[in-house]
């Protein structure tokens, strides 16, 4: 890696990190696992003057139960998230989606918060956060604030986290007993999603009573497939799921690239939504 030269600090508290970011100005950049930032530096697509390494801030690492929520420190690695019992039990969809991220080496370094803050449209976790209505705790010079998933993802690689702010933790409502599945479509085993569908359903008497669907990589931000969610209520068989999934691509704006054009991505969105909901519901 031959990046542009930069300064480096490694704070040990969130407040120190924020202070460093304020002092560093707009060219200062947070780094945690480095799994998205390093490629950016290597390709010289970015040239931060200061890197604020937040990988050793204790309060940003770990997973705890807080009332009706599971709170995950932003600096918790993918590996830790997907293997955590609380996550597996109460935020199953997150564990499932995280297991599809990259490969074991990257999952040992890359962090959940890093994925969400990076907000790559092809990243797997933003759709999960959207589907599950996660709440984001952001620390800045003015203290802490919380933001809902619908306000967190702003645009392509852009979130509500300001230049002088740090994403400290993310909180997921506990949803025990939901069926869930993350259907990721990629061309090779370790590649990014061409399209991904995060589905969680609550079943009642063999019917879908409530559904939450998040879509990966069909717009500049993760998209909630709300019309599908509504149409799924009451579905009791595969045919009903298929019918409900027909509207999955409505309101999406997928790009065209070498892997897939927009028309094919729309097609995939419908097919994968059907498959994800079928697997999540067992119907």
């Amino acid at each position: 890696m031959i990046p542009v030269a930069f300064d480096y600090v490694r704070p040990s508290t969130v407040d120190e990190a924020v202070a460093a970011l304020v002092a560093g100005g707009e060219d200062a950049k947070v780094m945690v696992g480095g799994q998205s930032l390093m490629p950016v530096l290597r390709l010289r697509l970015g040239a931060p003057s200061l890197i604020v390494d937040c990988s050793r801030i204790d309060e940003m690492i770990g997973i705890r139960e807080e009332g009706d929520s599971i709170v995950i420190g932003a600096g918790t690695t993918h590996h830790a998230v997907m293997n955590n019992d609380l996550v597996k039990r109460y935020v199953t969809l997150l564990a499932q989606a995280t297991a599809t991220v990259a490969d074991p080496q990257i999952r040992h370094r890359g962090t959940m918060g890093g994925s969400l803050a990076h907000a790559d449209p092809a990243g797997d976790l933003p759709a999960v956060a959207a589907a599950l209505d996660a709440t984001f705790t952001i620390a800045g010079p003015g203290g802490r604030r919380t933001v809902g998933a619908s306000d967190f993802f702003v645009d392509y690689f852009t979130t509500a986290v300001g230049d002088d702010e740090v994403l400290a933790s993310v909180s997921f409502p506990k949803r025990e007993g939901w069926g869930s599945h993350y259907e990721k479509f990629n061309r090779t085993a370790q590649a990014w999603a061409i399209v991904g569908v995060a589905a969680a359903v609550r079943m009642e008497g063999g019917r879908i009573a409530e559904a939450r669907i998040g879509l990966t990589n069909v717009g500049t931000t993760p998209i909630r497939a709300r019309s599908v969610e509504a149409a799924l209520v009451g579905a009791a068989d595969a045919a009903a799921i298929a019918a409900a999934s027909e509207s999955a691509a409505d309101g999406t704006a997928p790009t065209t690239d070498i892997h897939a054009d927009a028309e094919y991505r729309n097609h995939l969105t419908r097919v994968l939504t059907k498959r994800a909901v079928q697997k999540a519901s067992g119907l």
Binding site: V4, A5, R187, T188, Q190, D257, V271
Partner: protein, 815 residues
């Protein structure tokens, strides 16, 4: 060295011959102790970086290097203009801005007038560190005037198409080869056209026409290209550490390009992290590191990054082929005609023997018995990277096998005949060898039907067809694809084959030390094939010296004799033969020494497992090790015998060798997403004698993975503006073990009659043979949708579109 399969054992208990042995080189490779070009660090060494063109086609109005030069740590910034000012005392042009290619064209070292592909070299920065060099590259200000690029080979010859090579005074984008031809033909055009016309008129015959494209792919070796050049000011000696598959040929080219005396140039290729043809050519980066050391008086290192490797170095294929196959309705092939439009990029840099401007493409008549075949190949310039040899280059046999094997399957579909049955009906028979093909090749040996049947047996072919029928009835899409290929490898006979005038014979040297240990010096160059192991096994097989007592030296022109290097599967057919022959020379010398020691006539001796002994009196004998010491001793030798056992040889192959194989691929296609899953892959190769079967299997494994990659995912595509869409491993996808099934290998062994140990070469067999098997399998799976052909790579989106009856033009992925 560990034997893992039965290998002959010498009197001393050592394995001494052909058989599966673990590679000696793996000891260092798996421990991370290999020594690659980027590991070379010389005292005072400077670093470098290349500024590359963002445009596919643009005029350079001006280049301002002042800010870069002012950056502390920058030693020099070279531009095309600066190179034009350096006079070159050589035969091949009068300045350094341009260099010759391996096809007698010219290529810009640094662009002067125009840039002609995205990623072309524009300026070269030499600095104290690579960081500074990269920073300085960003400070160079180039004023470009963008020109319309030619990205579609099919439109390169349109009237009014922008002219790419105006530097040569061209008025269109045609390519003229060294013989003055703009197209290149082989076979009998008239008889083939007549045969096809007769078939068209005959109700008992069919003619099937199919256009197929073999898109542009890249070898993508794990190690990118690079070099460290050091000109010793005192001795005038230039040492170049470089990623070269052909160090000797490169030395000669540098002597010609730079006008340096050849004896003052030493080219060293240390360990090479994969080549696949990518490291055959001479790249501007290598030349610039040489100019850099001349200009600065210090060693200069140049190392390419991944994007540079993918965007600027030698690609492969890019052949648009239209084939016509004529046959009787009961499936007897009568004639094949192929018309090719070849996209050569902006400079004609293909590495082919001089008399073969389309390489060995004309072996396309394949493994079948029919009298009439003809091909015509028309190369054109486009605004893409030059090259066209790389990726198991096989001198274009990959393209040839692909077109014939697709045509045979299209014919089978047209006739409603099983593709295995159609092939069996037309395969050459063992008694037809040596067989002269309709385009003039003389195939050495083969038992095609036997090999085909072994593959069908392993696959359980009939059972697979039954399974497929059942699945189709259930709406599941399974496909079975066959490819039967014949290659001609081991270039080549000197009278026919040369590159830049250098004949393709290989030298070799074998020294046997007094203690019976040996050093074998090869001209060919391993890029991971395992030469240090297999060549020692050949000497062991011939002389009975255990492989661990033999050091194999390659990659240093000062330490090895001249030869043309490793590509086109030529090492075993050419240098493998040389190794056997030089060993036999040593053996004959040893016989004279043994006879002197045993006080008998050399004619009274017989050879067995490393020992000469007296016929009828086995007890009286000398081992090769004893003889080695005697040859250096005071033992009196007959008049005129020099002593010592050392020998040299040059091997000029009398013909190519013709490895072949039968491959069967089984796929499942998900009609919802278009995803192709390769469920099984059966490969039965016949490469003649297998020196080390385990390494043969390794070559085949790698080649099948390559083939699956090319068939399903690998592609260098461009948009209409000329942007390269395959410049990173996020876009240029390579298969991993997750995308490959466990391969099922088989073998038949039909030795080459003219090769001293009967070996045929196998380095490219699977890359050549496997893509057609995968594509044929996918097309077979899609047959219920009425799909007859779709081009590689069969990406999910492409397969889905084919199912809709609307396959995409893969090379122009985005309009």
């Amino acid at each position: 060295m560990t034997a893992v399969q039965e290998v002959p054992i010498s009197a001393g208990g050592n394995p001494i011959g052909f058989g599966s042995m673990k590679r000696v080189e793996d000891q260092r490779f798996v421990r991370g102790q290999g020594n690659y070009v980027d590991d070379v660090n010389l005292p005072g060494m400077l670093h470098s970086a290349i500024l590359r063109s963002p445009w596919a086609h643009a005029r350079i109005k001006s280049i301002d290097t002042s800010a870069a030069e002012a950056l502390p740590g920058v030693i020099a910034v070279l531009t095309g203009k600066a190179l034009e000012g350096i006079p070159r005392p050589s035969l091949l042009g009068d300045n350094f801005a341009w260099m010759p290619t391996l096809s007698y064209d010219t290529q810009a070292v640094l662009a002067t007038d125009k840039v002609r592909f995205q990623g072309q070299e524009v300026a070269f920065v030499i600095a104290e560190s690579r960081y500074i060099a990269k920073d300085a590259v960003e400070l160079i200000d180039v004023d470009y005037e963008p020109l319309e690029p030619v990205m579609d080979a099919k439109r390169a010859m349109d009237p009014g198409a922008p002219v790419i090579r105006d530097d040569k005074g061209q008025t269109d984008n045609s390519i003229t080869d060294v013989h003055g031809h703009k197209t290149w033909e082989s076979g009998n055009a008239i008889s083939t056209a007549e045969a096809i016309a007769r078939a068209e008129a005959d109700p008992n015959c069919v003619v099937v026409t199919q256009e197929v494209m073999y898109p542009r792919v890249h070898p993508a070796p794990m190690e990118t290209c690079g070099s460290v050049a050091h000109m010793d000011k005192v001795t005038g000696q230039l040492t170049l550490y470089t990623t070269s598959q052909a160090p000797h040929a490169h030395r000669t080219v540098y002597a010609m390009v730079a006008g340096l005396p050849e004896q003052k140039i030493r080219v060293i290729s240390p360990d090479i992290g994969g080549g696949f043809g990518n490291k055959v050519g001479v790249y501007p980066g290598y030349v610039l590191s040489i100019l850099g050391t001349i200009v600065t008086g210090k060693p200069v290192k140049w190392i390419e990054d991944r994007g540079e490797n993918l965007m600027s170095t030698s690609f492969a294929r890019d052949y648009h082929m239209t084939g016509k196959i004529a046959a009787t309705k009961d499936g007897k092939i009568l004639a094949v005609d192929v018309d090719v439009l070849a996209d050569h990029g902006a400079f004609n840099g293909v590495a082919q023997p001089t008399n073969y401007p389309a390489g060995f493409f004309h072996i396309f008549s394949g493994s079948y018995d029919y009298p009439d075949a003809h091909c015509k190949v028309t190369p054109v310039y486009t605004n893409k990277a030059p090259g066209g040899v790389a990726y198991a280059c096989s001198f274009r046999i990959t393209e040839a096998v692909y077109v014939i094997e697709r045509l045979v399957d299209c014919l089978a579909a047209e006739l409603g005949m099983d593709p295995a049955e159609l092939r069996l009906k037309n395969l050459l028979k063992p008694e037809q060898f040596p067989y002269t093909s309709p385009t003039g090749w003389v195939y050495d040996s083969g038992q095609y039907e036997k090999t085909m049947r072994v593959a069908m047996e392993i696959a359980g072919y009939d059972e697979l067809r039954r399974e497929q029928a059942e699945k189709r009835a259930r709406g599941e899409y399974m496909g079975i694809g066959i490819s039967f290929f014949t290659e001609g490898v081991g270039a080549g006979p000197r009278k026919d084959m040369d590159i830049l005038g250098l004949g393709m014979a290989d030298g070799i040297e074998l020294r046997v030390h007094p203690t019976g240990k040996a050093v074998l010096r090869l001209s060919v160059m391993s890029q991971g094939q395992g030469h240090e192991t297999t060549y020692a096994q050949i000497v062991a097989h011939e002389l009975g010296i255990p492989p661990e007592d033999i050091d194999v030296v390659n990659g240093d022109t000062d330490q090895t004799p001249f030869g043309l290097g490793t590509y086109g599967s030529r090492s075993m057919p050419v240098s493998g033969a040389a190794a056997a022959i030089v060993s036999r020379k040593v053996k004959e010398r040893a016989r004279i020494v043994a006879a002197a020691a045993l006080e008998c006539s050399p004619d009274d001796l017989e050879w067995e497992l490393g020992r000469w002994s007296v016929k009828g009196d086995k007890e009286r004998g000398k081992t090769i090790q004893e003889i080695a010491l005697l040859s250096h001793s005071s033992l009196e030798l007959p008049e005129g015998v020099e002593g010592h056992l050392d020998a040299t040889a040059v091997y000029n192959p009398p013909n190519l060798t013709y490895p072949y194989g039968a491959y069967i691929c089984v796929v499942d296609v998900d009609p919802g997403t278009g995803v192709v899953k390769v469920r099984r892959f059966i490969a039965v190769d016949d490469c003649g004698t297998r020196v080390n079967p385990m390494l043969v299997d390794g070559q085949v494994h790698g080649g099948i993975a390559d083939g699956i990659g090319m068939a399903l995912m690998e592609l260098i595509a461009f948009d209409t503006d000329g942007n390269n869409l395959g410049g990173s491993f996020m876009d240029y996808l390579l298969p991993t073990s997750m995308e490959c099934p466990s391969f099922e290998l088989g073998e038949t062994v039909t030795p080459s009659p003219h090769h001293p140990i009967g070996a045929k070469g196998v380095g490219e067999s699977a890359t050549v043979g496997s893509p057609a098997a995968v594509v044929n399998a996918v097309m077979d799976a899609l047959a219920p949708f009425g799909v007859r052909h779709a081009d590689m790579p069969l990406t999910p989106s492409n397969v889905w579109r084919a199912i809709q009856g609307n396959p995409i033009r893969v090379d122009m992925a985005i309009e």
